[in-house]
């Protein structure tokens, strides 16, 4: 049985959360947390190897056969997402060794962190739509805690907006599930793939699809549902905002990709066309919002939104190439964006602030940090040969193949505007002298903090370069994932077994 490997990426973080909570008052919590991170990395690698070897794998929990029990499924997309979750979690945990102080750890930082990771992995692996809702909630409530841990005024303010809008999205999702169940009588996603085609009232199916689009759209922060994101991501600890920026919105994108390829495919001319225009507006508003900001993390937050547009665009085009670009973009973006938030943390530590007009001189103080910033920043903008170039290239090519000239134009224009924002950060934070006669030097970071805070940045930057220089492996993975998404036969037969119709 391969069941255990499907459960491991969920069980390990949960066990770690419990251990870290019990040991939170001593150094043991930290050790348990790191050990859990390493174990998750290992488990996700085994899962990936299994999926590469056997194709889609599925496990029926408690041996209740699908579609009656809860199924865990891993296809290529799920496995890739779990691996990337483990990598991001490990990077931010190591960074946290330098940033998170014992006082915050005593409040249960590590327990919340791993509970959130468990929710994320659960959302990627479940094959049951109601179970997906439960994982979303696990992830959400842990992220509430992480967002406000520390309790500064800005965090409380941000917390209110984040909590309010995310709860509304949850309810749209929940009502959608209820109506979907009413229409089809099943909750298993593979089973829904068939059941939805037999529904007589296809108009109502589209209505339900829109409820899901709104619910997941808020989580994914697409236009015009993204306002919670730039209101909150710049307030918590840098480790927290790095994993938020990397993973949380991407769970929404993953959920969109899953339900709009597996379940709601009956009226793609309507649903996917909406997604297409939403993507274009998301890209544009995100990048324009970033241009108006003057705070390091706020600029980066708006860029998350703009980049989400590329991923949903890949889905909206609904071709193998488009989805392949979307998946490739997901992987590239998570690494790059988490890294940029970590760089912002180091910049604040050295230069004393995160408001661009109050800092400067970082290039002089730490030239290698400037290089570490430029790698993800250029990758974000799509400079060859970094990972972002290939990601944008594939998505734009997919748009051109469908002769969607305007969308392709928007995607290219947004890339150009991205350079503008990155140049703004470069010029203000790295190039110009510090305005307050304050000498930013590396010695403002204590020597014991330097290694844990800089090592993850270096590792993530190297990964960006590796993806950029050797894209074949990753492109192939993304293509496998895209093919499986567009033709879910494997997924469905693996889940439902011989009973599949």
């Amino acid at each position: 049985m391969t069941d255990w490997i499907l459960v491991a990426p969920i069980a390990i973080p949960f066990a770690t959360a419990v251990a870290a909570f019990v040991l939170r008052n001593g150094p043991g919590g930290r050790v348990a947390s790191l050990a859990g991170g390493v174990a998750l990395l290992f488990a996700s690698a085994v899962l990936m190897a299994q999926v590469l070897e056997h194709g889609v794998i599925a496990g029926q929990m408690s041996n209740w056969d699908a579609p009656f029990g809860i199924t865990l499924v891993a296809d290529t997309l799920s496995a890739v997402m779990v691996v990337i979750t483990a990598i991001t979690a490990m990077a931010t945990l190591v960074y946290g060794l330098g940033e998170i102080r014992a006082r915050t750890e005593r409040l249960g930082y590590h327990a919340l962190f791993h509970a959130m990771v468990a929710g994320i992995c659960g959302a990627f692996l479940t094959g049951d739509i109601f179970n997906l809702y439960v994982w979303f909630e696990v992830m959400l409530i842990a992220s509430f805690g992480l967002l406000v841990i520390g309790g500064s005024k800005a965090q409380l303010d941000a917390g209110i907006k984040y909590v309010a809008l995310n709860l509304v999205s949850t309810l749209a999702f929940l009502a959608g599930i209820g109506m979907l169940y009413g229409l089809t009588g099943t909750l298993n996603m593979a089973d829904l793939h068939f059941a939805i085609q037999e529904v007589e009232n296809q108009g109502l199916v589209t209505v339900v699809a829109m409820l899901f689009m709104v619910g997941f759209g808020v989580k994914a922060a697409v236009f015009p549902l993204f306002f919670w994101l730039p209101a909150s991501y710049h307030t918590p600890y840098f480790s927290v905002s790095a994993i938020f920026a990397g993973m949380l919105t991407k769970v929404g994108v993953y959920a969109l990709m899953r339900v709009f390829t597996l379940i709601f495919t009956g009226d793609t001319g309507f649903t996917h066309e909406i997604l297409l225009w939403v993507s274009a507006l998301t890209m544009l508003t995100g990048v324009l919002g970033a241009a108006a900001q003057t705070e390091f993390r706020k600029i980066l937050s708006f860029h998350i939104i703009s980049q989400i547009g590329y991923m949903t665009l890949g889905l909206a085009l609904y071709t193998t190439l488009g989805l392949m670009g979307g998946v490739f973009y997901l992987v590239h973006h998570i690494i790059v964006k988490a890294n940029l938030f970590l760089v912002a943390g180091v910049a604040q530590k050295i230069a004393g602030h995160n408001e661009l007009d109050r800092i400067g001189g970082l290039y002089k103080a730490a030239p290698f940090l400037a290089v570490l910033f430029l790698i993800p920043a250029f990758s974000l903008a799509g400079f060859p040969p970094l990972s972002g170039f290939w990601a944008k290239f594939v998505v734009v090519k997919a748009a051109l193949e469908l002769e969607r000239w305007f969308i392709a134009f928007v995607a290219l224009l947004v890339g150009l505007l991205t350079i503008y924002s990155m140049t703004k950060i470069w010029a203000a934070a790295f190039w110009k002298p510090h305005p307050e006669g304050y000498e930013p030097t590396l010695s403002r970071m204590s020597a014991s903090d330097r290694v844990p805070m800089l090592a993850p940045i270096v590792v993530l930057a190297v990964m960006t370069m590796v993806i950029g220089l050797f894209p074949e492996v990753f492109v192939q993975l993304a293509e496998t994932a895209a093919v499986q998404l567009l033709d879910p036969t494997d997924y469905v037969t693996t889940v439902l077994g011989a009973a599949a119709r």
Partner: protein, 128 residues
């Protein structure tokens, strides 16, 4: 029966939306609680309502005796209620902390995380 429940759902959603349009965060939360109850009722009603047929299996028997109500929507609603309870407990504590920390629950005045720039402040420039 479904028709009555549907009407109640509609009423709950209407009241919820009205409350959620308020600037006061506490009113927003009350609206959200009503909305969550409406969502729970949607699940319940969508699962078809069967009157007077509890999902029970007689003692000694392995299958139910005659038709029974669908137990799954009830399990789903129960799960959703528990989760919702946790989330709202957190949200209420957050509201309390925000009131203590920020001194207001009016969302228009919550500008700590996103401060207004000078030119946007009321009274600045030509717009008095």
């Amino acid at each position: 029966m479904e028709a009555v429940v549907s009407l109640i759902i509609g009423l709950l959603v209407a009241v919820a939306v009205y409350l959620m349009l308020a600037r006061n965060f506490l009113r927003f939360l009350f609206g959200l609680i009503l909305l969550s109850n409406a969502a729970n009722l949607v699940i319940f009603a969508a699962g078809r309502m069967t009157e007077g047929a509890p999902a029970l299996i007689p003692y000694g028997s392995r299958v139910p005796d005659g038709p029974v109500a669908n137990a799954l929507p009830q399990a789903l609603v129960l799960t959703a209620i528990v989760i919702g309870f946790g989330l709202f407990a957190f949200a209420l504590v957050l509201a309390l902390q925000a009131y203590r920390g920020l001194g207001t629950l009016n969302s228009d005045h919550m500008r700590v995380a996103e401060p207004l720039r000078d030119e946007e402040k009321p009274g600045a420039g030509t717009r008095a």
